[in-house]
């Protein structure tokens, strides 16, 4: 390897008194490597990268690009130095097309006006060159999460970035997509780009990264050659102790059917068939996984179950009652709770406090109300207990939740929904972008809920998550159930992958079992 293309030294960053995100952090990356930045949520990885990208200002410390000191006052300067960042929470304009988003800020001009055709061409060339097919004229709001990410990467490539920072890139991808994504990353490295990946998925680090820097609680633990360090060691350095063993799937007697769909079909907003003849049931004490490549009907499935989509054919029953025509509020009162996929949009009120967010689903409960007034004491106690049980790292119950890191925020969302669940929990990507320790906490609580006899539907693009938690699963492909699987352990990931890609499907007699 050559000289470090990038060096950060002595970086200190604090968000106000008592919240130290980076404490004398040093970090260096060689040209042409894929460098992993690993650590638990709230360890300071994202903060460090935001400082590098000029989005946050460090109180102390220096940044060198090719050994020349640079002051990263804002992202424009960072981009001028060839640094590009793909954020965990997408920074895209929903109401513009792919081409418009990619060219935003670097618009090709003709006669002083925006040259739409050139922008389309730009996207097409980049998409072809880096093998990331995406329709330049599609609106962002219509894209799946995986495609949105492609657009983000194209955006960075369009700005001719040499150093590309990826914040939790594979969190939203299926195994197949991840594999392709890795090929693309390797190709990028071959093309001379330097890549920094923020991640906590250990197998990925082993698979593609050259070196790894591990952070813990705002400090760097050290930088290692990936080849010379085992997954166990990485995990120990990240968490500070050995992670607990995998959970055992304890079976309990299945209770009555709590959630069922019978022959449900619906259309997507653009009028295409989104779901066709979906039939399944979940009993109390059961955890049913929904496997599938993103964008194969999962969103519609969840929207129907949670009352966000009311136009559909077929019947949906929650503990024996039909959900047809019920509002979200009514469905929730029937005992359904729901961990939404997009936590920033649907999961939290960023301006609200930890208490507001943790208690939002149980505010109407009689025990928290004295006449017209709410008992702040009880609400605080509830939020405090929740924060303790879910190990939410926080400063005070009253601080706006936007001060928490992504993983801690997600723990608040999961805690709120799991605690409020009376009969059925819909968990849509409950651990997306969450570190190992937090995943463990969330999984334990979901498993506990199941043991209490609740019915749980788990939608996840992370196959290993579904395999850890579920015994039964359905596989969705293009809006249809292509397989009902009664014992997940009997299938390999490759076999599941064939179903997910629609290359194989169970015969109807089999599927009915």
């Amino acid at each position: 390897m050559s000289l470090p293309i990038l060096r950060m030294q002595g970086i200190c960053k604090s968000y106000g008194p008592g919240i130290i995100a980076a404490d004398d952090v040093s970090f260096s990356v060689d040209a042409g490597e894929i460098h992993a930045l690993a650590g638990e949520n709230g360890a300071g990885k994202t903060t460090l990268m935001k400082i590098l990208f000029g989005m946050e200002k460090a109180q102390r410390g220096e940044i060198f690009i090719n050994e020349k000191p640079v002051v990263m006052a804002d992202p424009n300067i960072a981009m001028a130095h060839g640094i590009g960042m793909v954020h965990q929470h997408f920074m895209l304009v929903d109401d513009l097309t792919v081409a418009e988003n990619v060219s935003l800020g670097i618009e090709p001009k003709r006669h002083g006006l925006f040259d739409r055709e050139a922008a389309r061409e730009l996207v097409r060339t980049l998409a072809e060159r880096f093998d990331m097919p995406v329709d330049p004229d599609a609106f962002i709001r219509d894209l799946s999460v995986a495609n949105k990410q492609k657009v983000e990467i194209l955006k960075v490539l369009a700005r001719r970035a040499d150093i590309i920072i990826l914040d939790e890139p594979t969190a939203v991808l299926t195994p197949q997509e991840t594999k392709r994504f890795f090929e693309q990353l390797t190709a990028l490295r071959k093309a001379g780009r330097t890549i920094i990946v923020i991640t906590h998925k250990l197998p990925e680090i082993k698979a593609i990264c050259d070196r790894i820097t591990i952070m813990r609680k705002g400090r760097t633990v050290g930088t290692y050659d990936v080849a010379s360090i085992s997954e166990q060691e990485i995990s120990r350095l990240m968490i500070g102790s050995d992670p607990l063993p995998e959970p055992i799937l304890e079976s309990i007697d299945p209770g009555p059917v709590l959630l069922s769909m019978h022959d449900v079909s619906c259309l997507s907003p653009s009028g295409k068939s989104a779901l066709r003849g979906i039939t399944f049931e979940v009993r109390g004490g059961e955890l049913l996984g929904v496997v599938g490549v993103e964008g194969n009907g999962q969103r519609e499935l969840v929207d129907i179950l949670t009352g966000r989509k009311t136009a559909y054919a077929g019947s949906v029953q929650l503990a024996g009652d039909s959900l047809q025509g019920l509002s979200i509020a009514r469905i929730r009162r029937h005992g359904l709770s729901f961990i939404p996929e997009d936590r920033m949009k649907d999961g939290v009120d960023l301006d609200g406090s930890l208490v507001d967010n943790a208690t939002a689903a149980i505010r109407d409960d009689r025990q928290f109300n004295i006449g017209p007034f709410q008992s702040d004491r009880k609400l605080d106690a509830y939020a405090k207990r929740l924060a303790e049980r879910y190990e939410v790292r926080h400063e005070s119950l009253r601080e706006p939740i936007r001060h928490l890191s992504g993983g801690n925020m997600q723990k608040v969302v999961c805690g709120r929904e799991i605690s409020a669940c009376k009969t059925v929990l819909i968990a849509d990507q409950p651990t997306r972008g969450v570190d190992v320790g937090s995943v463990r906490t969330i999984h334990d609580h979901i498993e506990l809920l199941r043991q209490h006899g609740k019915a749980i539907l788990l939608i996840s693009s992370d196959l290993s998550e579904i395999r850890t938690l579920c015994r039964r699963a359905i596989v969705l492909h293009q809006g249809e159930i292509v397989a009902h699987i009664d014992d997940l352990a009997a299938y390999t990931e490759e076999e599941l992958g064939l179903y997910m890609l629609g290359l194989k499907r169970q015969r109807t007699t089999e599927a009915g079992s």
């Binding site: 030294q9 002595g10 008194p17 004398d24 109180q59 102390r60 928290f368």
Partner: protein, 384 residues
């Protein structure tokens, strides 16, 4: 005794949870920011006065110290602040619910007109002579305000546009009424009959124009605070205003929460209109919109949408206007100077980046680092 001490300790811990050092710090920073904005605005205003006046010192003296020179003058401040307080609370409720319904303006007009008519034609006595007209004015405003609010919730009609149109509809109907239907020709004006004495709000302090309306306004501020921050309805309102998608997904009926926040805000403005008429007018004779509704949004922005800060913001604007009145009356400077100050303060307070608290926090955090004596690394400078 035991229960008392338990209560005291609970109170203490509540205070601690409410006012940790960080919250206090944030509050100080925000307050300091507003003060600096006011200071800058004043300096500019002084420069303008110096430019246009032959005797700038006199003008500035009237402007700044005039309102504080006697109880009577300070009474004018309080009188000016009262409708602003109502309007500010109304705007808080509406903004916090995530809407921008400008019908508070029309609500002031409708509330005032209906309260005056109810007072004249019901001709009640005792406390009812006050309560019934005010209630009628409030309800009338809420009824009319329901239309743009519901249009927004049901058909996504932009409430900003529709509410401004409703302002004019209401105003011109009102002008038509006082010119044709309820006109008292003996007044020599397009105005209603005189409001009976029983319905006039009582003066609170001698030699001033401060009425019981001020107490009603303060009461409304406290009730609005309790509603917004201490009840489940207020919680729904705040969550809906902050993030509609989130509110919807946790099972809040966002349509209803949005409508109720607007209706309540408009009700407060309607009450403010009634109080204004019963406190300061012999007859209802408004032929234009009073402007309080719009002022309310300014007050709410200065008060950062916090109901308990609204009285202070209203008092300040009331003080500014009294000073401007006195300056215009006694010197050669027009009272419009106050518009410059208001405009500047608003721009500075509303612009997030101006002395943003993040910037202040950065300064403070840097100090903390220094105090903790983190070992400096390799010739690092203090570039923030």
């Amino acid at each position: 005794m035991k229960r008392l001490s338990a209560f005291v300790s609970r109170l203490c811990s509540w205070f601690k949870s409410q006012f940790t050092s960080r919250h206090l710090l944030t509050a100080l920073i925000e307050g300091g920011r507003t003060l600096i904005a006011i200071l800058i605005a004043y300096l500019v205003a002084f420069a303008v006065i110096g430019f246009v006046s032959d005797d700038p010192e006199m003008a500035i003296r009237w402007f700044v110290f005039g309102p504080l020179s006697s109880p009577t003058e300070f009474g004018e401040v309080l009188k000016n602040a009262t409708p602003l307080l109502f309007a500010g609370i109304a705007a808080c409720l509406i903004i916090k619910g995530g809407n921008f319904n400008m019908f508070t303006e029309g609500a002031f007009y409708a509330g005032g007109l209906i309260a005056a008519l109810a007072a004249i034609y019901f001709d009640l006595s005792g406390i009812l002579a006050i309560i019934i007209p005010l209630a009628c004015g409030t309800l009338a405003a809420m009824l009319i305000g329901y239309i743009p609010a519901k249009l927004k919730a049901k058909y996504e009609v932009n409430e900003f546009v529709s509410s401004i149109m409703f302002n004019f509809i209401v105003m011109w109907i009102g002008v038509w009424l006082i010119s044709n239907v309820v006109i008292d020709v003996t007044s020599g004006d397009n105005a209603t009959a005189p409001i009976p004495d029983a319905s006039r709000l009582r003066i609170l302090f001698e030699n001033t124009n401060v009425t019981t309306g001020l107490l009603i306004a303060l009461g409304v501020a406290v009730v609005a605070y309790l509603y917004m921050f201490r009840t489940r309805f207020g919680f729904r309102l705040r969550m809906t205003g902050d993030n509609k998608a989130f509110a919807r997904s946790v099972g809040i009926d966002v349509g209803r929460a949005g409508v109720s926040s607007q209706i309540l805000g408009i009700g407060v403005a309607g009450l403010g209109g009634g109080v204004e008429i019963l406190a300061n007018y012999h007859r209802f004779n408004w032929k234009t919109l009073p402007g309080f509704g719009f002022d309310g949004f300014m007050v709410a922005i200065i008060a950062k949408n916090r109901p308990l800060l609204v009285p202070f913001a209203a008092l300040f604007i009331g003080y500014l206007r009294s000073g401007a009145d006195l300056m215009a009356f006694n010197t050669d400077v027009a009272q419009e100077v106050v518009q410059i100050i208001q405009g500047l303060i608003l721009i500075l307070v509303a612009s997030e980046a101006f002395f943003s608290s993040a910037w202040f926090r950065g300064v403070i955090a840097k100090r903390m680092f220094r105090r903790k004596q983190l070992a400096p690394v390799g010739g690092v400078d203090d570039h923030a």
